[in-house]
């Protein structure tokens, strides 16, 4: 963190001192010759809003898969609250308090919305193997699912089959599925992809509210820079599998390297700068 801009001191304090929840140490993943994630070391501090940005193919999703356990790293470690979970199976991580969403909508398409969320609640309960009791008996799961659906604004569609929902609502439902078991840390992989522009602030606002109110840690991969800049406490920029820079939003925005990586070669960068310049000239 070379340059830290002006940030509220309380937040700075939290960023520097709050314990590390999730940590990646020298994480590497190779697919054949391709090194998708290359020696990534990352610390996610508790109750912060941590965004990961970078161009397509920078390895953000692979990193997510390593953190959530969908993929096993070629080398390196993943620690959760100091505990090594590099080789812990996916479902164990969920029980530890790790929830994740996917870039592509990943749901139970032929179940109802309520059932999708209810399954997410039930997962961490202790009634999974009660095969002799009717589902209806476990009203607390359904209650919690309804509560979550209310929170994400889907309570009026709870009985529709998930696949019949429009894309934006499916994303909301997914968010509900992650929120439902009240995990300690939420890994959100482009939760706004496929949503209409008007809906994005709403969803992001929702995530932010939840993060603040229930003191959760959020790790977000996102392309919409407006969103990233406004909500993040910390931003990590990835490029070609490695961490290019890390810091507070202001610092990242001012980082030349980051701009280069995001905009490609300087030729194109210059052109855009020029365009921006013209625009601001006209605006003023």
């Amino acid at each position: 963190m070379r340059r830290i801009g002006i940030i509220p001191s309380g937040l700075l304090y939290r960023m520097m001192t709050s314990p590390v929840v999730l940590e990646a140490r020298g994480l590497r993943k190779e697919f054949g010759a391709l090194r998708a994630v290359n020696d990534v070391t990352l610390e996610i501090r508790a109750q912060t809003f941590h965004s990961i940005i970078g161009p397509n193919g920078a390895g953000k999703t692979t990193l997510f898969n390593l953190l959530s356990g969908t993929l096993e790293p070629t080398s390196g470690q993943v620690l959760f609250n100091g505990q090594d979970i590099t080789h812990a199976p996916v479902h164990r991580r969920a029980h530890l308090g790790l929830g994740r969403s996917y870039q592509i909508t990943n749901i139970f398409p032929n179940l109802t919305v309520l059932e999708n969320v209810r399954l997410a609640v039930q997962a961490l309960g202790s009634d999974n193997f009660k095969f002799w009791s009717a589902n209806a008996k476990f009203a607390r799961y359904t209650e919690r699912a309804r509560q979550v659906l209310e929170q994400v604004g889907l309570s009026d569609r709870s009985l529709r089959l998930a696949r019949t929902l429009p894309q934006g609502d499916q994303r909301k439902m997914e968010l509900g599925m992650i929120l439902a078991p009240a995990p300690e840390i939420l890994l959100l992989d482009e939760p706004t992809s496929g949503m209409a522009t008007e809906q994005i602030p709403e969803l992001i606002g929702l995530i932010q509210t939840i993060q603040r109110e229930s003191r959760k840690t959020v790790v977000l991969v996102e392309h919409n820079m407006d969103v990233v800049m406004s909500v993040s406490d910390t931003i990590t920029v990835m490029h070609q599998g490695s961490v290019l820079a890390e810091g507070a939003p202001a610092a990242i925005a001012a980082n030349v390297q980051v701009q280069d990586a995001y905009l490609g070669h300087s030729l194109w960068h210059d052109a855009l700068q020029q365009a921006q310049h013209e625009q601001s000239a006209r605006g003023s």
């Binding site: 969908t70 996916v90 479902h91 139970f108 999974n128 193997f129 095969f131 002799w132 009985l159 529709r160």
Partner: protein, 368 residues
Amino acid sequence: MPRANRSAGILRRHGGALGLMIVLALLPFLFGLLEGASPLAVWNNQAGASKFYEGLLIEVFILAVYAISYDLVLGITGLLSFGHAMFFALGAYLTGILLKSFGLPLWATLLAVVGAGVLNALLFSVVLPRVKGITFALVTLGFAAVFNIVIQSHELSDWAGGDVGLQNVPIPTWLSPSDERLRFYFIALVFLFAVYWFYQRFVDSPTGRVCVAIRENEERARVLGYPTFYFKIVALTVASVTAGLAGALHTLYQPIVSPTIAGLGFTVAALLMILIGGIGTLTGALLGAAVYRLVDFFLLRFTGSSSSFLIGLIYIAIVLFVPYGIVGTWRLRNVEWRTVWQERLAQWFGIKESPQDLAPPTTEQPPD
């Protein structure tokens, strides 16, 4: 919830099944009346058309239990197993061998069948973490093939009867399928409905829902925190035990056990039954079993030896033209209809849904 209300709910939800059970219970007497035999004659197991159709229906009931257990594995949990016949055959052979060669009492035999069913399911589950999809199908096919070979082997022929099969299994007289067929009929009927009821409950329980979730999207279920492996074991165990008990009933009814029930063909029969009825629907498995057995019976009766050719033709036609099966096709319309109406009601009257009225967890589409 008030008690009266609750029993009314049960009646509403299971009314169809109860009605069907009553109709089936009365059916032998109806057959008797059509033939001119009095209900008393039917009661006393006198020979006649009624007794004959009782036998046919007993076979249907046994097949229905077998089919529903396969539906749990393939249709509900989404495991493509090609060794399901082994579940059934193990129960059938074990019953025959224990009754005939070891002279065990019936209750002990059935207990052993249940135990063997659990072990059998565990055997199938051992490979689950390693192999998926078509490879799982091949491995299970392999297990069943080995069982089929071993059971027909010369070394075991003293017990299992080699490639002729097990003959003359001694059946307790109170259950004799020839002298006490009506009693047998009722036992099979009650067994079928007990299994059906259990399966409905199972699918509607937390465990069952997770099984459905595994079929829909196993990766997602795992990320949500379900150790999917154990749920698959549970589903396989339930299916294995029920199929094994169906096998036991088969032996008790037939008194002979032919090795064909251990072959791939018998697994395929289960697949056909649930495909005819509608995969993943439970009810469809029962319907499919009935269609399968009855079509087979009537074709054999009216067309003689070329019946299997015609059956093959009928299956190909079903595949091409009724892809979702009978219940599947019906339910496809029904769920949409229901969803539409629920939304309309909510819109007009502000009615909120109650948890019981959740749309059924089963799909309208085969998991392919």
